[in-house]
């Protein structure tokens, strides 16, 4: 049984959203509404179901810390590079305050947490992106953390798993952002030459610059059901082709049908799947998960 129970006992520290951020939330805060089937869900139940609607299987978005809690073996996570902080290289109007607000709202320094931990006993280097931090856009810090993770993994011969989520490049950092696509991809090349496994898990949404770099470079690409996956944003496509997009366009299911990903895995099975894949790639169990 995965050890995510810690989240509810208050002994582990987790970021929570302010009340009101969950739309259409009933006043008592005990219930929430499924965004897909509109069913009323008892929050405690939703939580023990890892944020998956018990009725329709809709996967609610998770924060990076929640993802760590439900994916990794308890207390196995050690964070790396949390001392890397964002600057404002272009003097882009409003960027400073945007970063500050994102830090305040999420309790994170940036849109990704990287580190080392164990999944079902198997050690791995890990990345967890958090969409609530400026749409998990990739600026210099995200690019640097991912690059360092790949480089470290190549040295230590440890597999990498990154839970991706992103709206794309962080436009406020201009070309410094765009170049992170090339930087992280180059670092993946090194990892690949070291013959070290990289699994990318695409969560809702993984688009644009992150999809077109480390997001789609996994030796094995897994997606969560229903996740939006693609390069160009749907609004831009609709404006270009002047047509409504077909239903299900750019979903995980669409990506699977078109051969863009390896598999779709329900969040409730991800530990097992990852554990098996790590094991099949020579992973040695360090401790029962």
């Amino acid at each position: 049984m995965p050890n995510f129970k810690g989240i509810f006992q208050g002994k582990q520290k987790f970021v929570t959203v302010k009340a009101g951020q969950v739309p259409e939330e009933p006043a008592d805060g005990l219930w929430t509404k499924c965004r897909q089937c509109a069913g009323i869900l008892y929050k405690k139940e939703l939580t023990s179901n890892l944020g998956v609607c018990g009725d329709c299987g809709f996967h609610f978005r998770l924060s990076a810390r929640e993802r760590i809690a439900i994916t990794l073996d308890e207390d196995s996570f050690v964070e790396y590079d949390e001392d890397l902080l964002t600057t404002d290289p272009l003097g882009f109007p409003g960027y400073d305050t945007k970063i500050e607000a994102a830090k305040q709202a999420t309790g994170l320094n940036e849109a990704i947490i990287t580190g080392q931990g164990r999944i079902d006993g198997y050690p791995a280097l890990l990345g967890f992106m958090d969409f609530s931090f400026i749409g998990a856009s990739m600026g210099s810090v995200v690019g640097e953390k991912v690059t360092r993770l790949f480089e470290r993994a190549a040295r230590q011969k440890l597999p990498v798993v990154i839970f991706c989520a992103s709206g794309g490049a962080r436009m406020q950092e201009g070309m410094f952002s765009l170049m992170q696509m090339a930087k992280t991809s180059a670092a993946y090349g090194k990892l690949s030459e070291a013959r070290v496994l990289y699994i990318s898990v695409l969560t809702n949404p993984t688009t644009a610059g992150v999809f077109a770099s480390f997001g789609s470079l996994g030796d094995i690409i897994i997606a969560e059901p229903g996740a939006l996956i693609g390069f160009t944003g749907q609004r831009v496509i609709e404006e270009t082709i002047r047509q409504k997009l077909p239903p299900g366009f750019q979903t995980a299911e669409f990506a699977l049908e078109h051969g863009l990903i390896d598999m779709i895995v329900d969040r409730r099975n991800i530990r097992k799947t990852l554990g098996s894949l790590l094991s099949l790639h020579g992973g040695r169990r360090e401790e029962a998960g």
Binding site: Q9, V15, D83, G167, M175, A212, G230
Partner: protein, 352 residues
């Protein structure tokens, strides 16, 4: 030839026309107007200087998008001594928005790739306005791998508004094709010279824009997002693109200062389209110089250098705090945070 002029060039274009008219009149009527003409020519020179030495980022973008700006195939024709075009990605099709082949540059065989806009409406439709599909990027990669096999250097010409934002492009893995090019270009065992001649539209440009030496024309731009897209995200108002263009720091001088490009190539007075041969000669000289320089570096070292070059890019600070402060916990809330599922990609570029 119907002339197309940009708004800010108009006073100059009008003056040039007046000079032409006077010359013609003087010739026809046999009246000597050389004094008047030379005064006007001096005035035109001053005006040209004034306009082109003080271009705003937005004006440079307009020049980069100028319909008369030379396209990749036109440059190839002017720069190389011979060019044999090769087609297809061997998997799906042949994308007209990306061209490539083998060329002779002063006795040196090189592989050339580049994005290709049309020179008129008909060709633009055939070339999809120069916006590549995944098969275009895969064709470029095929030709680059071929270059590596035969130890030929690669010259890549970039002039693209962006990767094509379409349904089929997504179905065939636009993002995957771009990512794959980024990985391979970073580690190809041959030298790569990139010339950004016009538009450097985000990931669609970067996908053929990784190399050992990045040369950028004075009025080209290279940006994470189009100014229109940026303005739409910031202010929901695409008409404020001029402001966005200033903020994005996307001009050649900006990118030289940021260390993103290596060399800024000045354009002839009045920009590349005013004197294409002169522009082509400048590019040819710069590319030959770059290839000479790179050919002296052992391939292993070259690839290491290329990696180190990419590795350096990025601006961040390292906090002196021993560790981050403990994450916030909302009092009394033991529930798992279920974040709103409303996609707010503000700040993230969902542009191509």
């Amino acid at each position: 030839m119907t002339s197309f002029s940009l708004e800010f060039e108009k006073p100059l274009v009008e003056l040039e026309k007046r000079i032409e008219d006077l010359k013609e009149f003087s010739l026809k009527k046999g009246i000597d107007l050389s004094d008047e003409i030379s005064i006007l020519e001096k005035k035109a020179d001053e005006l040209r200087k004034e306009i082109f030495e003080n271009l705003t980022p937005w004006q440079r973008i307009l020049i980069a998008r100028h319909p008369k700006r030379p396209t990749t195939l036109e440059y190839i024709d002017m720069i190389f001594d011979e060019f044999i075009e090769l087609h297809g990605d061997r998997e799906f099709g042949d994308d007209g928005a990306i061209v490539g082949g083998i060329a002779d540059l002063g006795g040196r065989a090189v592989t050339v790739i580049g994005t290709q806009k049309g020179r008129d409406t008909k060709e633009n439709i055939a070339r999809n306005f120069g916006m590549p599909h995944p098969e275009g990027y895969r064709k470029a990669l095929r030709l680059m791998k071929q270059a590596e096999k035969f130890r030929r250097p690669i010259v890549s010409f970039v002039d693209v508004v962006g990767a094509y934002p379409g349904v089929e492009a997504e179905e065939r893995g636009q993002g995957i094709a771009i990512a794959r090019n980024l990985v391979e270009m970073a580690r190809l065992s041959t030298s790569i010279v990139v010339v950004i001649t016009g538009e450097g539209g985000s990931g669609g440009a970067l996908a053929i824009g990784v190399g050992d030496k990045l040369i950028m024309l004075e009025n080209a731009y290279f940006s994470v997002i189009s100014p229109e897209g940026c303005a739409a995200i910031l202010w929901k108002d695409g008409s404020r693109s001029q402001e966005a263009a200033e903020m994005l720091k996307l001009t050649a001088p900006d990118l030289k200062a940021q260390g993103i490009i290596d060399e800024l190539l000045p354009e002839p007075q009045g920009a590349a389209h005013k004197d294409r041969m002169a522009m082509a000669r400048l590019i040819r000289d710069a590319v030959i110089k770059a290839l000479d320089e790179l050919s002296g570096i052992p391939v292993r070292r070259l690839v290491e250098r290329r990696y180190a070059r990419l590795r350096r890019i990025g601006k961040y600070v390292v906090s002196e705090m021993p560790a981050t402060e403990a994450p916030m916990v909302a009092a009394g809330n033991e529930d798992m945070h279920v974040a709103p599922d409303v996609a707010d990609v503000e700040g993230g570029s969902d542009e191509t």
